[in-house]
Symmetry: C2
Subunit: 293 residues, 2 copies
């Protein structure tokens, strides 16, 4: 495991995955690793907010991040306690400020990628007031280095699949790598980590395996991270929101390729593309050989 | 377009995607197609139920399917009208039976893959009472034929990516192919189609590009379809639920490979695997050549 990461997935944690027996395409017995999902009910100061399905690591960070990304916790709030009860599958966040989100909880929005939330209304209001750091930079050499480090780090994705990952990065260094069955849980864990560790978002880069839907853009902008990279594709509204917010939006980042649909002025095209292409070809050949084996 | 399908995506519908300009990894201008997502607010008999983010095709089917899969509409309910207002972005479903789900709407669950719903409580109760057709069969030759037909059918996935697909199938024939930014919307559209067209689920096969999470299993069982196939992976709870319900659960179906983790007794391993392997190798070689070009 690279010492570049501050937080990495623990694929060997037996709480997160387990081997399951089945048969393959030839009818032969196989055993594969499968991730767990379990409910976690979140309370804020005595009020039940939501039940989330999660792999279950970092419940405190996920709870805080969820509340932040739903505008139920403010950047200047003082968190006086976070109690996680594994047996009861619940987590309680307590704040100095008294809170009551009864009205907000009545308004339900099912968003496209995942999650239930109040994406309209107050979240969109705060979205419009955020200015992202114009001076943040992304060198393409960093982007290729990040993807290589992230793709080769031990992860539940490599062990069991069926999981999304998000990584908070600085320049060419991946810092915080979170995974979850719901990609928005992984985002929320990173938001919670940044809040609890008082980490600045303004010089950071956010990498996700998930698609660049409206909700992903909104969360990234709310977290005030100026650059968002995904191995997956875009939606039209996501692109519109990124352009409105001045977010640098990069999608379809696989191998040597990527596409920038917003904020390209933050990008420095410094990578040696002939070297990148050669490495990409070598990687593809190896993958094809392994798949055909 | 194959005449095998009763319903297929319309990738040329300008409402569903649009070209967007950006730059690629070399800083050169590119134009790519990107899917739309838009809000659609669902009312049942005057009560606001939820706002969904969707690509926007088949709003009536999606509305009916959502209500069915949330147990807000019963199989024996008479739908007296469905009104879709494109400008107001809302759809109203009216039933003979009076409905009031105020209490149910207060209980919120954020599920792992997607969607907000009341997965626990009444949905789990009805889940336990469903028996799936034991006599349903899946020949592996059908499975390979289905995957080939589905993967080569014109779709928004091929045109723009960043979208999930679900296909209702009978033997080796794909019947109803629905796509959406949220995979649960695609499932709901098929549930609505089956209800409105009075199509029997008992001899059908359900194919999805999405992961086999608890919610996907629950929806498939609620729809009473005995066989579920995905190109993606499993979660542990999904496997447990499939085994409890007697659902045939096939995942990681790509190329010649797949894994069965529940209900393997419905499968007939009749495919000529040497032919399947040869076709798979040819396909991989072509894909690698195209990607390296």
């Amino acid at each position: 495991m690279s010492d570049e990461f501050l937080v990495v997935p623990d694929p060997d944690d037996p709480m997160l995955s387990r081997p399951v027996s089945g048969v393959d395409q030839d009818g032969k017995p196989v055993e594969i690793n499968v991730v767990h999902e379990r409910p976690l009910t979140l309370f804020l100061n005595g009020q039940e907010i939501v039940t989330m399905m999660t792999i279950g690591d970092h419940p405190e960070m996920m709870a805080v991040g969820y509340l932040l990304n739903q505008n139920m916790l403010r950047a200047d709030d003082t968190v006086t306690g976070i109690d996680y009860d594994e047996d009861l599958e619940l987590v309680v966040v307590r704040t100095q400020r008294e809170t009551d989100y009864e009205e907000k909880l009545k308004k339900k929005t099912r968003t496209s990628g995942c999650a239930q939330g109040t994406v309209f209304g107050d979240v969109m209001e705060s979205f419009a007031s955020i200015s992202l750091n114009r001076d943040a930079r992304l060198k393409t050499s960093w982007l290729y280095a990040l993807m290589k480090k992230i793709n080769t780090a031990p992860s539940l994705y490599l062990k069991a699949g069926a999981i999304h990952g998000c990584v908070l990065c600085h320049e060419d260094r991946p810092l915080v790598y979170m995974e979850d069955v719901g990609r928005h849980n992984a985002v929320d864990k990173i938001a919670g980590y940044m809040f609890l560790e008082k980490m600045s978002p303004h010089d950071k880069i956010f990498y996700t395996t998930g698609r660049l839907t409206s909700e992903m853009i909104i969360k990234c902008v709310q977290m005030q991270i100026p650059i968002l990279i995904s191995r997956s594709g875009f939606t039209a509204w996501g692109v519109d929101l990124a352009r409105d917010a001045g977010l640098t939006l990069i999608g379809r980042a696989r191998g040597k390729r990527f596409v920038v649909l917003a904020g390209e002025d933050r990008i420095e095209f410094d990578a040696d593309m002939s070297q990148v292409a050669e490495e990409d070809r070598r990687h593809r050949r190896k993958a094809t050989e392994m798949d055909s084996a």
